[in-house]
């Protein structure tokens, strides 16, 4: 069956893009309300950025997946170098060094590493003979690939991003077919090491964990974020207080109401209904991403598609678990909804790569 549409348009997953656009548009509504019913300072800037980036995503999706495979190591090496650069001469920002100020753009290499680690590992297992998958060497190099950026980001210190890089990489190892018992053993080891690791956390990181375990202990101090977020979500009820009617956000009780805690801002005004809508939209995108990985033709394509989808999943899951008081406060925004360009760009690039895999799988 021929269509009037050009090839690129026919191979573009419009359903998934509709879900992404719905998330972005809903995010703009929430940002408009969070600013007290104003396009400034957030909604307008975010809207322009979103429009530009979604077009860029569709354009980037036309790149052949083989090209990503070819340059995977180079990308990884460049981002790793940039991370080292941040450590060496990064500007101090918010108490930790995360930004690389190039003079024109402020880049956050740790953001890109979330993608680069998946690509590099996918490339590694793409070439690894099947027979080697159970050898120790199959573990050593990927382990080093994960450890280096994780340690660098941890040192910034940015616990949330480091964790996302590590779990993104581990997810690829798992999908690549490494023996089950390694993961089971690893999980057990991590469980045992948590109390020890806790000891090495920075003061504010350790406090976040203890506060998570008992937010009531210091409701006016460090537990304030979680408490106020839960109040915002809980007081919204099933259908919310109505657009522009949130008191927790408008009266400044909710901290970071336009970034990390935007889900709470939304839930106060839109209730459970708004929350379920966001969950479903992400569900659509994730379902599509995992589906693409199943259909992919090459090991690299499979691992890249699934790994990048998992990265998006970790983003969403960690943020929502935190906002609803099920995980400690780590500075991770809700992608596509929260105000800010970094997470949005990371997620849209990831989706662009998955889209290119999808086109290769569907057109042959």
């Amino acid at each position: 069956m021929t269509s009037a549409l050009p090839l690129w348009a026919r191979t573009t997953p419009w359903g998934m893009i509709a879900a992404v656009a719905a998330l972005g548009a809903f995010g703009l509504l929430v940002l408009y309300s969070a600013a007290g019913g104003s396009l400034h300072p957030w909604a307008m800037a975010q809207g322009v950025r979103f429009a530009v980036l979604i077009v860029a995503m569709i354009a980037l999706a036309q790149v052949d997946p083989a090209l990503w495979r070819k340059y995977a190591y180079w990308i990884y090496a460049a981002v790793l170098l940039a991370l080292i650069g941040v450590e060496a001469l990064g500007a101090v920002s918010g108490g930790s060094r995360r930004w690389l100020d190039t003079g024109v753009l402020r880049l956050q290499p740790s953001e890109f590493m979330k993608l680069a680690i998946v690509l590099a590992l996918a490339r590694y297992f793409h070439n690894l003979p099947r027979t080697h998958i159970r050898s120790l060497s199959a573990l050593v190099i990927p382990f080093a690939l994960i450890l280096a950026p994780t340690a660098l980001v941890m040192a910034q210190p940015d616990l949330g991003t480091a964790m996302m890089i590590a779990v993104g990489g581990v997810a690829v190892l798992f999908l690549a077919g490494l023996p089950w018992w390694w993961f089971a053993g690893g999980l057990a080891a991590i469980g045992g090491a948590v109390p020890v690791l806790f000891h090495f956390l920075h003061g504010y990181q350790a406090r976040r964990v203890t506060i998570f375990l008992d937010p009531g202990a210091d409701p006016r101090g460090a537990g304030y974020h979680i408490t106020q977020s839960k109040i915002a979500i809980g007081s919204g009820g099933l259908f919310g207080k109505g657009f522009l009617q949130g008191t927790q956000s408008h009266l400044d009780y909710l901290p970071e109401r336009h970034t990390d805690f935007i889900f709470a801002t939304m839930a106060e005004e839109w209730g459970v209904a708004g929350g379920v809508f966001i969950l479903l939209c992400f569900g659509v995108v994730l379902w599509w991403g995992m589906g693409v990985s199943m259909r992919a033709r090459t090991p690299f394509a499979r691992l890249a598609a699934a790994g990048l989808t998992m990265t998006l999943f970790f983003y969403v899951a960690i943020n929502l678990l935190m906002v609803m008081g099920l995980a400690p406060v780590v500075g991770i925004p809700l992608p596509l909804v929260s105000y800010g360009g970094s997470a949005m760009m990371t997620v849209l690039i990831a989706l662009a790569i998955v889209m290119s895999v999808a086109r290769e799988a569907d057109t042959g």
Binding site: G237, Y253, L321
Partner: protein, 645 residues
Amino acid sequence: MNSNAIQQQSFARRALLLGAGQGAVGLLLGARLLQLAVSEGEKYKLLAEGNRVALRLIAPRRGWIVDRAGKPLAMNRPAYRLEMQPDEAGDVEAILARLAVLVPLTPADLARIRDDMDGRPKYLPVEIKDDLSWETFAAINVRMPELPGVRPVRGFARAYPGGAPYAHLMGYMAAPTHTEYARTHDRLLLLPGFKVGKEGVEKALDPVLRGKPGARREEVTAGGHPVRALETLPDTQGHTVRLTIDRDLQDYTARRIGAESASVVVMDCWTGDILAMVSMPAYDPNAFSNGITQTMWAAAQSDPRHPLIDKCVGGVYPPGSTFKPVTALAILGAGISPDQTVHCNGGYSFGGRVFHCHLKRGHGSVNLRTGLIQSCDVYFYHFGRLAGINAIAQAGRELGMGARYALPIGGQRKGIIPDEAWKLARYDKRWLPGETLSCAIGQGYVAANPLQLAVMTARVASGRTVMPRLIVNGPPTPAPALTLPEEHLALVRQGMIDVVNHGTAKRAKLGQDFQMAAKTGTAQVRNISAAERRHGVRKDQSLAWSLRDHAWFICYAPADAPRYAMSVLVEHGGHGGVVCAPIARDVMTYLFEPAAALASLQTVEGDRRQRALAEQWRRDAAERAAEAAADAAAKAAAAPPTVPV
């Protein structure tokens, strides 16, 4: 099957597993959402409401203080005040500069405003100026658009219609200190213009008078900035406090004291109700409550008559001969017959020293009655020594001396009723018998305040352990009888009646209808040297004011059925019978025949002594003001020039 296919199969299994994990987390999140918003929704709705709504306090109206007949002693009058909310004002200094044209703001005002703004949230208003005139208030209302953040507020200020005679009783009102807030953390204290009682009844009964603040429910931001008002709860005015004071008597007494530096305490002999308690001169409590100026404060502090001290309870003096009723009761208690006599030839030798009687030629043969009438020192030297200091002290304490009373006024001083144990504790030395002689005539270690002497007089008159009372809280409870025998008290009372009829207090004779019982007293301020005594003691009038003796007078009336007891002290007034007796007579007359007492006031206010004193204080005040001005000028010249801001 090629390796790609095998790998794909393994991949699919694991991808499905991860997909299932994603779904599980999604379900967990959905469930949590429902838990927060539905099962715990009510709790969080309440918490959100608690966040949103804040209570803003409204200062309560203070309770009145009234006299025994319900006449106001302290009340509230409408007052206009200026407040500023720093976060709305923006450039605070510019606003203050603009305000200074309309309202006179002293450097002290500015310093206080800046101090108030420091360390307080910017949304809390601070007081700029209190008690504005209506003209200024109106002028500012017109200029409101040029003065963002400035608010003219109508409130209440404390007013004391009686003025200075009530200064020590009432105390005054002032802004709470940082320490007072730190102790209570009462948010009411942070309200601009809120004042608390600082002295006297205003301080002691502050919790009763204060009332309960009202509240305005307001929607506020997390920063506390009000967004809109929701509803208002009115305040509850503080309770009215009724004092035992008789306002007319208090006013009359203050006028009768005139230019003297004096204390008068009038008590009910049976209930202990304090009808008048006047310490003059005093300050104007209205001026204090509205923020006293530096010059007023300096003038009050340097005044030799100590207007800031409540002489009634805070001044202790040797009681002199007014202590003799106490010694007399101790003598009788020691079993010495009132008819026993001693010969007075103007002096009494004891322990190689001569103790002089006030009458140089002597009183001849003296018994208890004549000893009291003539106030013969030798009688009390001799028999007081026989009774012993411990017996004298015990009688003194039984009559209420050396005690602090449970009264709502501060600054009560206990004075001293010495005995052997007291000296051992105080000086670690044994009591010398010679010291008993001085104490027996109310000199030496003995020290008392005017209130204590009034209580002593009331107890002698009624024979009951009357306790002084300043607040009317229900009917008075009858006081139990003293342990002293009634026949001893009757002898002392008769002595005091005779003092008025034949003795040192003839000037205190009342009209024909009723009689007064009294005792005079003179407390030495300086030691009289042996040389001076040889050449004739200098007449008190020829000495400088501050070297003259204190004059005392205690009395009760009517003599046959006591109702009121009184103590009068005139600082440096000379002999008690000369200066105090007429005051006591007139004040007592006011209680029975007010018209007659008011008539005598006219002659008193024009008399030579009063005029001379008034003139002296005028000159004295002018001199001190000039001195202070010269001091300030010298200081200003010595200090480096300050840069005008």
